[in-house]
Symmetry: C2
Subunit: 324 residues, 2 copies
Amino acid sequence: MQALVYENGELEYRSNHNAPALGSDEALIRPTRMGICSTDLEICKGYMGFSGVIGHEFVGVVERSGKKVKNDLTGKRVVGSINCVCGKCDMCRGGLAEHCRDRTVLGISKRDGCFADSFTLPSRNLFEVPDGVDDDHAVFTEPLAAACQILRQLTIEGRPYITVLGDGRLGLLCAQVMSQLNATVRCIGKHPEKLALCEKWGVKHRPLADVGLRGDQDIVVDCTGSADGLTTAMGMVRPRGKILMKTTVAVHQDSKPIDLSPLVINEIEVIGSRCGPFAEALDRMATGKVDVVSLISRRMKLADGVEAMRLAAGPDSVKVLLEP
Amino acid sequence: MQALVYENGELEYRSNHNAPALGSDEALIRPTRMGICSTDLEICKGYMGFSGVIGHEFVGVVERSGKKVKNDLTGKRVVGSINCVCGKCDMCRGGLAEHCRDRTVLGISKRDGCFADSFTLPSRNLFEVPDGVDDDHAVFTEPLAAACQILRQLTIEGRPYITVLGDGRLGLLCAQVMSQLNATVRCIGKHPEKLALCEKWGVKHRPLADVGLRGDQDIVVDCTGSADGLTTAMGMVRPRGKILMKTTVAVHQDSKPIDLSPLVINEIEVIGSRCGPFAEALDRMATGKVDVVSLISRRMKLADGVEAMRLAAGPDSVKVLLEP
């Protein structure tokens, strides 16, 4: 089958990659749309030490189910949670299964990803996509869920000032989600054409170069995908404010040290934020509360995946979608 | 007067330093004991870009009060909050005066410190020391308050596992304070003679080398005073756990970058923690709830302050006190 594989420091398109074996509790899925995320780009810089088929954002159709699958979704359109968990460890038993000690993560850790003709996930990870949500929307379920996760980690009191830092893929989703809160929300970025989307949605926006680090924001969401993001966020947030941290970056020899003393001096809270609720994300799209389609910059074939990854890393792209 | 001055990258004892001018709302204080803190050591490595008389831990006697002082404490034994605030900015008006935008901080930022024959503080910063708290105790009010601050920033649910990381000055205070919670507390350090104090207090303790990074602690308090502390803390805390960050370190050219991705992946919360409640600290000492005197490693004269700072930086010292 076709697959986009990262191995020995190289990203490569393969037309004759081995098809995956189907586990007894798993579903075999044929993706119809796949989305390229900043994490995929970081993985190709060495993040997570991953090796194998990359990719974790998809919508697809279940082709076959393993023998022990209870919720057989064969023939259905699905999206799926990327964390494959053991169900036995302290985290799973304690209600924090997405932090399973023995988990594999689709295209990120110890499990081949979805940038291929087919791939597998445990069937219990899947969510059937409602008819009202087409493929162009459904492929955004995973990143939109990650944006929604912020709402579970914050208590909104009064009418806080919130800055979403970064106008990329995740930043534009977070900006939309946050702007539905009782809050004054602005999105700060570097790309006029991306910030123009905020204008369309009625979300306040400013270029980073025009914004001072005035320590006056109650909450800053770091979606920069850049190692500098935290430093900028620390400069923008008020004392005792909160920074939601969405950015993960591979650390290299030439990475710069960050001065973290503002966290202590200003008693800032930094809250790491990862995966979120799929059902809520699907619901937001079904009810038209979020515009994701405007984020699609390009559609490319899986066979052109290496080039698609290169374009996704460029300043002009928001979401690059892959199709089989 | 005598003073310990950090200027142009050099720490120096001066016998003929200018005495401070007394502001109309200030008290002139003659310190009777002064404590050397890790922040003093960091300042002498360039932290905060400070220049002037160093020192911020003291107990002393008010010698004189300015004309407009309302609570005249002349002749009384006092300790004092180190943050000198404007009373007018958004932080002061919002109940977060210790984060005043225009503050000066005793011996740390834009205000001469207490390692001198005399120094000044706004009179409203002072707390009279109760008779039951002698000078050897009272000089620990500021760092003990900083340890107590953690209790204001945490909600303790169930019976959490808490690790205090670091067996230095602040770590040993935090370990004592935390062990009075309904929690399983351990102190992790590198120095057998310091961990022996934990044994004396009935606080669990282990050498760092014997402890795995198992991601199983609900709360980790970083009191290492070292740039590596956060990395160790991230390895010890469980997913969705909390790290209380007490460590501030000067960042240099040769500082190493820290991989912060575990914060995001494990959705860890990092809470910066600085100054704390003086009244609570005095009360804990008055009621004998904390043993601070065992922390005193040495007593030296202010005239030997440069040597005292050198010794305080060594592995064998806990608290080095200065006397006039």
